[in-house]
């Protein structure tokens, strides 16, 4: 017995270290790439990269909701819009510093998310999908309402002033916004990982795996399901606020159901429930339409659809599958050396 343990234990420990080291190395490499890339590219590319990070935050937020608690949402664009408008109105009408608008947007969206999560408690599956879908289609219309026009600017929308780099740093506005967005992304990533590893995260995942069993084990279903909605909405709101600052413009038609579908696609392509996949998913929805446009102007939609089908045929579990495959390869490589 003891001999078996002695031989097994070091091997298992070694396997864990290899696994740890592979993912740590991968994380460091990605972080270095994220830090260094803007130094070598043009301002427009920096802008695109910033939008990539912004959508990655939104996808991460949906991943927390769907991958974490198993609830489905096609209404993320509504919370994104709410965050964007909160930030834009605070900046333009109340002269609030742009950094401070992010927590404000998060708070507003958290409350909205919890309020929407309450009726959603009774719905699941396609019914929840339809309810959130309704929210997403209603949002642009609500933003256009005459009652709010003095704040929202109605159909015209609002123009947002682009912030300068602080402390007289000698970098362009675009580059500053990129690093600012990167910082926020990293913070949200860390928060999400910790959340999923916490007691709350385990409760959410128990709900995802089997609601009835979870409630039998004493998990408070309504509390954790609405909480998941609230947190997801808050993070999406932060993404929306950042998006508004980066694009310098908010208008109702920027936040249609198309946006919600794009966020959803990003999650599927990145791998449901795998947070780093959000970056890959976001890259798919930001850059692939451009590629499709380049291949064929008239058929760009068809090319996009075909590429999407190729992705889901080759890797039905998204970027997560690719990462697991890569990890297996790296392990084999490390073992042989």
């Amino acid at each position: 017995m003891s001999t078996i343990q002695e031989t097994v234990a070091p091997a298992a420990a070694a396997r864990v270290t290899i696994r740890r080291s592979v993912s740590t190395i991968a994380q460091i490499v990605v972080l270095l790439l994220l830090l260094a890339t803007p130094l070598f590219v043009k301002n427009f590319v920096i802008f695109q990269l910033t939008m990539w990070l912004v959508y990655a935050i939104a996808i991460m937020a949906l991943n927390l909701l769907t991958g974490g608690s198993g609830q489905f949402s096609l209404g993320q664009s509504a919370f994104y819009a709410l965050g964007a408008y909160t930030s834009a109105i605070l900046m333009e009408h109340a002269d609030v510093n742009y950094v401070l608008t992010l927590p404000a947007s998060a708070l507003v969206c958290f409350v909205a998310g919890v309020l929407f999560g309450l009726p959603a408690l009774r719905l699941s599956g396609v019914y929840l999908a339809l309810a959130t879908f309704a929210l997403a289609t209603a949002m642009p219309q609500l933003l256009k309402l005459g009652v709010f026009e003095s704040w929202t600017g109605g159909v015209q929308g609002l123009v947002v002033t682009k912030p300068d780099a602080p402390f007289h740093l000698p970098i362009s506005q675009d580059m500053w916004l990129y690093y600012f967005t990167l910082l926020v992304t990293l913070l949200i990533y860390a928060a999400s990982v910790n959340l999923l590893n916490s007691r709350t995260g385990r409760a959410m995942m128990a709900i995802r795996d089997n609601e009835i069993a979870a409630s039998a084990l004493g998990v408070n279903l309504p509390l954790y399901k609405t909480l998941a909605f609230g947190i997801s909405a808050a993070f999406t709101g932060i993404a929306g606020a950042l998006g508004a600052i980066v694009v310098q413009f908010v208008a109702p038609d920027g936040y249609t159901i198309q946006l919600a579908i794009a966020i959803f696609l990003g999650m599927v392509v990145g791998g449901v429930g795998w947070l780093p996949g959000s970056l890959a998913g976001s890259a798919f929805i930001v850059f692939v339409p451009n590629v499709a446009e380049n291949i064929s102007k008239g058929l760009s939609g068809a090319v996009f659809g075909a590429l999407l089908i190729v992705v889901i045929f080759v890797v039905p579990h998204g970027a997560r599958q690719v990462a697991l495959y890569g990890e297996a390869l790296a392990k084999k490589f490390l073992k042989n050396n």
């Binding site: 959803f264 058929l299 939609g301 068809a302 659809g305 999407l308 089908i309 045929f313």
Partner: protein, 292 residues
């Protein structure tokens, strides 16, 4: 009171459009347990095929039957090529597949037939129906066709062997396989039938909303809403749901002040969500009992 009756009639007329679409939605839901987001685009493509046939000089009813056959075959081909290989993939991957199909069909139709609005003929004409200004003969015909379709579907599922086999395959695939039902082909058959019903819906709707690649966007949404309202497991519920949504949409627009066309959709959807919160399985749906 007269205004009320008129608005209800007009609502039934638009509701017939939603009812048609909702039938197709329920049909596919019965077969594969998902909502097909590309359903509207498939119907639009079928309608374009019918239009092309009529342009080539084929008489309406022959074109109608040909389109049904082509759509039926097309639905089966899509299932065999695209969704059978994905059978074991996660559900969300399927939804991504539907979205991909949506993008492809929309884009191909746009390139083949361009985005200009086209007239589509109606077999019923468009005179006022029984002297009423509110319902045209086409709309009356549409309501009639929807009801006949519903009866036929009811008969099919209730009284034929193959209909029974399809219901069995949908409700308990493993057990159905054990009693010798070819579950894979039942799913393909469901796709074919949904595609053909969608084609009928498309050909009935096209004379009202005109033919163009984006014609189905809003209608499919209402079709989903109707199906969910009536209960996704009940074709009868879907048709009733369609009429209810149509009537409600019109009444809201008439009686609630400040609601223009812009707010009709959000309010109709809010109603549906409210109904669902009170009755989560829809008005006529079965309650699904879950085992731990």
């Amino acid at each position: 009171m007269e205004l009320f009756v008129n608005q209800v009639l007009a609502g039934i007329a638009t509701g017939a459009i939603y009812a048609c679409m909702a039938l197709a939605v329920v049909m596919i839901y019965q077969a594969i347990d998902h909502l097909n987001f590309a359903q509207g685009e498939m119907a639009m493509f079928s309608t374009f095929i019918a239009w092309q046939l009529i342009q080539w000089g084929v008489p309406y009813w022959i074109a109608f039957v040909l389109t049904l056959a082509i759509s039926f075959a097309g639905g089966i081909i899509i299932e065999r090529l695209l969704f059978k290989p994905l059978a074991h993939a996660p559900i969300l991957t399927h939804v991504a597949g539907f979205i991909a199909l949506f993008a492809i069909i929309n884009s191909v139709a746009g390139l083949t037939w361009d985005f200009t609005i086209k007239q589509f003929p109606s077999p019923f004409g468009s005179r006022p129906f029984l002297g009423s200004q509110l319902i045209s003969t086409h709309q009356a015909g549409m309501i009639g066709v929807t009801l006949v379709l519903l009866l036929m579907l009811y008969g099919f599922f209730r009284f034929t062997r193959i209909g029974l086999a399809m219901r069995a395959a949908a409700s308990l695939p493993e057990s159905a396989r054990l009693v010798g039902i070819n579950v894979g082909w039942m799913i393909a058959l469901g796709w074919g039938m949904a595609s053909a019903i969608g084609a009928i819906a498309g050909m009935l709707i096209a004379p009202v909303v005109f033919l163009e690649p984006n014609m189905m966007g809003g209608i499919l949404l209402y079709g989903f809403a109707s199906a969910v309202l009536g209960g996704l497991s009940s074709p009868f519920g879907a048709v009733i749901g369609g009429f209810l949504v149509g009537i409600f949409e019109n009444l809201v627009g008439t009686y609630i002040p400040g609601v223009g066309n812009e707010l009709k959709l959000p309010i109709a959807l809010a109603l549906i969500v409210t109904v669902l919160v009170v009755k989560p399985n829809g008005l006529f749906g079965r309650t699904v009992v879950q085992r731990v």
